[in-house]
């Protein structure tokens, strides 16, 4: 019993640290990646005692920028505007960050393996309604934004918060419909089970990934996920040139760091969801429980190596989708608010409903499950 508790705690801490580290690295990714896209140099001033420059290397400044940015944010003055509700002002960032981080509790990063007669799932909470849990936490994430804007006693912040809330609840529906299509296709709400069903290959070469079964749901989830996390091209609530910073105008220091972290953690969350549902999660093509099966050749590997390869593959896929979202951010212009709402309600929701209808019909016909 105590060992189970310890294993659970270790899993939770490890997954949380992985997510937080990836979010922090994404900050640097964003700055250097956007510099690459915009044909400029990017952040290259922070250096640890001139390490890169002295050795004649170009100053990529990864570690230094990673350390300098949060350090700067946390040591800034924590300012609460006059007339603002102090309690809500402090609660906003917490309510924004908590649901996004908690959503990672049901994410399976690898296959289950045996240690000393005990099966350890690489999932902090192996509940069998994982997809519902993800929807629930995404739904609760609305309140941080709402309260952050309201508690700032600033009409532009409130405007940003109202826009952000309306946008988030609109695109939640589209995300929910995409997830429902996936759940109907795979017949289960359990995330580990969905990933397991994406193992194997068709015709000897095509991996049985969700994207070949549900391409429409993939596009919907990616779009709705980017809109949900208010990334460009859906970042009108932040409106960097119109609303100053929208709902987090009046936040500085550690609270702003929380909002930034929420942004990047949601990028990771959307990438993780897309990977789990559509790209096989930790499944690698031709890699089975005991090794690689390539036609007639078999490369047998110990179980631990197979699991570790799965975990590495998962994170590579996640990073690829994070990079894709950063690419989209720095390529597309921003949607106008009515265009955004029109896309959400008149475009994605009917498309999602149609997709659910067609999926359900095909599943019933294909499995002959009419009772």
């Amino acid at each position: 019993m105590a060992i189970d508790l310890l294993i659970g705690a270790v899993k939770a801490i490890v997954i949380l640290l992985l997510v937080l580290s990836l979010s922090a690295v994404l900050l640097w990714f964003e700055r250097k990646g956007s510099a690459l896209i915009q044909d400029r140099v990017g952040a290259n001033r922070a250096a640890i005692f001139g390490f890169g420059k002295r050795m004649g290397l170009p100053n990529l400044g990864i570690v230094a920028t990673l350390m300098a940015d949060p350090l700067k944010l946390f040591t800034k003055e924590d300012f609460v505007p006059e007339g603002a509700d102090k309690f809500l002002h402090a609660l906003g960032p917490f309510l924004a960050l908590f649901p996004v981080l908690v959503a990672f509790a049901v994410v399976p990063i690898g296959d289950a393996f045996q240690i000393g007669g005990r099966t350890v799932q690489l999932q902090a909470a192996s509940i069998n309604a994982g997809a519902l849990y993800i929807l629930a936490t995404i739904g609760v994430g609305v309140y941080g934004v709402a309260l952050g804007g309201w508690a700032s006693n600033n009409r532009w912040a409130l405007l940003g918060a109202v826009r952000a809330t309306a946008q988030m609840i609109s695109y939640e529906i589209a995300m929910g419909l995409a997830i429902i299509s996936i759940v109907i296709t795979f017949g289960t709400l359990d995330l580990q089970d969905i990933v397991r069903q994406q193992g194997g290959v068709w015709f000897g070469w095509l991996p049985r990934w969700g994207i070949f079964l549900q391409p429409v749901a993939f596009l919907m989830l990616l779009t709705a996920g980017m809109a949900e996390s208010k990334r460009v091209p859906f970042d009108l609530p932040e409106g960097e040139s119109e609303l100053i910073a929208g709902y987090f105008t009046e936040y500085s220091g550690g609270k702003q760091a929380c909002f930034m972290l929420t942004d990047f953690a949601e990028v990771v969350l959307v990438s993780v969801l897309v990977t789990l549902f559509f790209f096989g999660g930790w499944q690698v093509p031709w890699l089975y429980r005991d090794g690689f099966h390539l036609g007639t050749h078999h490369l047998l590997l110990p179980r631990a190596a197979v699991v570790i390869i799965g975990v590495i593959a998962f994170w590579i896929k996640v990073v690829m989708f994070c990079w894709f979202q950063i690419l989209v951010r720095w390529t597309l212009p921003r949607f106008r608010y009515d265009q955004l709402m029109r896309l959400g309600w008149k475009g994605l929701v009917p498309l999602g409903l149609l997709n659910v209808l067609v999926t359900a019909f095909v599943v019933v016909v294909a499995t002959g499950a009419a009772r």
């Binding site: 509700d85 809500l88 309604a129 519902l132 929807l135 629930a136 709402a146 309201w150 109202v162």
Partner: protein, 179 residues
């Protein structure tokens, strides 16, 4: 469910419901209500009603409370000053509520449902069994509920929208400007 979990969730829900009733700022009341709903949702999940518990959080906390929040924003409700007056009403209301609570407690303490852990069938509370019951035995109620929701949406839009200009007022300026 473990006793500690029940005591924690019960305390949270009672304290936050008292917060709903007692706070001056409507947004604080809303936050307290959200906390109560999440605690009750957690109680549902602990009672093996997993799907209903998550639906409570997705639907109630994630959608209905956002509706309340939007109305508070729209009406720009501020913290209300200390309410005065109506002491007679409040006195009798308090006595009535206390009497009702006492009656409920006495009634429920005399019930025989004091058994503890009763095993349930596997798959109890899962989305499969909920769907089986919902679309099997309660199909008519389900369809009626969907019509109810449609009517509610149409009604809400019809009641809350701003009045459109009528035909008479739109036609009058044209007549005046024609010659």
């Amino acid at each position: 469910m473990p006793v500690e979990l029940f005591i924690f969730l019960a305390t949270v829900s009672i304290v936050s419901s008292l917060g709903v009733v007692a706070q001056k700022n409507p947004i604080h009341c809303l936050l307290a209500l959200i906390l109560t709903l999440i605690a009750i949702g957690a109680l549902f999940i602990a009672l093996d009603a997993v799907t209903v518990g998550f639906l409570q959080i997705i639907v109630y906390v994630g959608a209905i409370m956002v509706l309340f929040l939007f109305v508070i924003w729209l009406l720009n409700l501020q913290a209300e000053p200390v309410p005065i007056g109506h002491l007679g009403l409040k006195f009798f209301a308090t006595i009535a509520v206390a009497a009702m609570a006492a009656e409920l407690f006495v009634f429920l303490a005399k019930t025989k449902i004091t058994l503890g852990a009763i095993p349930v069938v596997a798959g109890y509370g899962s989305i499969d069994s909920l769907a089986q019951t919902l679309f099997g035995q309660y199909l008519m109620a389900f369809e009626t509920t969907s019509i109810l929701l449609l009517v509610a949406v149409i009604g809400a839009v019809a009641v809350a929208r701003r009045a459109l200009p009528t035909r008479a007022s739109a036609a009058a300026p044209k007549q005046g400007a024609a010659p």
